[in-house]
Amino acid sequence: MLSTSKGAIYKWGLPLLIVIIIFLFWEIMVFIQDIPRWLLPPPSAVITSLIIDYKIIFNHTWITLLEVVLGFVIALSAGFLLASVIGISKTIEKSIYPFLIASQTIPIIVIAPMLLVWVGYGLLPKVIVVALISFFPIVVNTSDGMRSIDGDMEKLLLTMGAHKWHIFFKLRIPTSIPYLLSGMKVAMPLCVIGAVIGEWVGSSQGLGYLMIRSKPQFQTELVFAAILILSIMGITLFLLVGIIERLMIPWLHDSKKINE
């Protein structure tokens, strides 16, 4: 009991302490230097605006979250499917991989406004940007996982009479799951950035839109409030993947030992 509470303090207490110290320093510096609010608002002003404008912020947060989740789910499904195909066939891997890398060299900031022209103005172009940006780490990690099966385990299954599909479902996929999950962890914060980029180039809703709208109106504290919410969103989603990881791969976390 003692050790678990100590662990919790280590895990959450220290980062929280650092945040508090940074905010205090920021607050004091703004006060001493007498920096105008529209240039750099103190944390107290940011939090105040969070409380006062919570309704507006909540509505925009909801939209951004929706874009992130939808885009991520699409990237996850498409990424896993493509990684499976790459895992099955060496030929497909060789023919697809260069295009996969090339797709990542296209600046997303160029693609995002084009998407507006191609698919319209609503939620869809943002979801596509999120999917495009988070697709790559998922495919690369998962296909690495598919290829890193233990050769001796493959032999074992073959001697049991396994054919290609047995190897795929009973060996390749389970081997790739931890890789998939670490790909998801990398992709998750990228999704949040993707949603903001998508909103930045043209939107009427979402936290990215809120930032663009607030800046010229000198409501800088609202810009910072949006940034704060985005960080919290990213961290929460990241932790959620961590929880999914613990549920999906209990053999890596369940560490109880047994004596003969």
């Binding site: 385990m153 073959l158 389970p174 047994i258």
Partner: protein, 268 residues
């Protein structure tokens, strides 16, 4: 007679540089017996097992697997021309590492071969549970392999091998990673399990005492290129216990084996 191998040859390498691994290997293993292949490291023992299991092809030679169940019978000469190896899937093969799938619990690991044979998962699990209960290990059923000791992992891997119900079982140094106490316990346990069924067991080892203690027949293999150098019958009655290790007949076989393996000074 269950396994008959005659003049088996195998080379590895490509274009120009060939390395001869097995030359004219001949051996016979009987049903219900444990036949050992003893040899120094790198003599081609594992290659021989891979060929018997159907994972690898011989260049030329003759293999006849005619076991209690008439599932495997292919004569190959030379067999490299056949695309699909008929022995593959019909010979159980336990490799040096336990190779328990880490994402499967003990019971799921044991049920693996049944699932691959096309049984549905629930049936496979209930058969595996009954099997595990027979050997008094049912309390480990829901554990993941990483929580088990090395000896227990080998037991589970062995039971998984047995449950394939292949008439032929190949064991590639199954005790080599264990400490000596665990090893002797497991050797006795293995012999007990094997005595309950009638299978043809081929055990590959580089441990002289293990070979004498467990086998009915021992083939000695030379260094690369591997070929059979000598053959000994071991006729200690079963069940055996550790008492036989100090028997004079045991000592005699041991010094012969050590001489064959090129160990010149035997300490008695």
């Amino acid at each position: 007679m269950a396994i008959k191998i005659n003049k088996l040859n195998k080379q590895i390498g490509n274009s120009g540089s060939f390395l001869s691994v097995l030359t004219d290997v001949c051996l016979t293993a009987h049903t219900g017996h444990i036949t050992s292949i003893l040899g120094p490291s790198g003599c081609g023992k594992s290659t021989l097992l891979n060929i018997i299991a159907g994972l690898d092809f011989a260049d030329c030679g003759y293999i006849d697997l005619d076991a209690c169940v008439d599932t495997v019978k292919n004569t190959i000469y030379p067999e490299a021309n056949t695309k699909k190896n008929l022995r593959l899937g019909n010979v159980a093969y336990m490799q040096q590492k336990d190779l328990l799938l880490p994402w499967r619990t003990v019971i799921e690991n044991i049920a693996l071969s049944l699932e691959i044979k096309g049984n549905n998962k629930l049936d496979s699990l209930s058969v595996a549970t009954a099997y595990l209960a027979d050997f008094g290990l049912v309390q480990f059923a829901d554990n993941y392999p990483h929580s088990l000791s090395g000896g227990m992992k080998q037991r589970i891997a062995f039971l998984r091998t047995m449950l394939t119900e292949s008439p032929i079982i190949l064991l590639d140094e199954p005790f080599s990673s264990l400490d000596s106490l665990t090893r002797i316990n497991l050797q006795i346990w293995f012999m007990d399990v094997i005595s309950r069924i009638s299978r043809t067991v081929v055990l590959v080892t580089h441990d002289v005492e293990e070979a004498i203690f467990m086998s009915d027949k021992i083939y000695v293999m030379s260094e690369r290129p591997g070929h059979i150098e000598n053959c000994y019958e071991v006729d200690f009655p079963r069940p055996r216990n550790t008492m036989i290790i100090s028997d004079s007949k045991f000592m005699a076989i041991k010094s012969n084996l050590l001489r064959d393996l090129g160990v010149s000074h035997v300490i008695h």
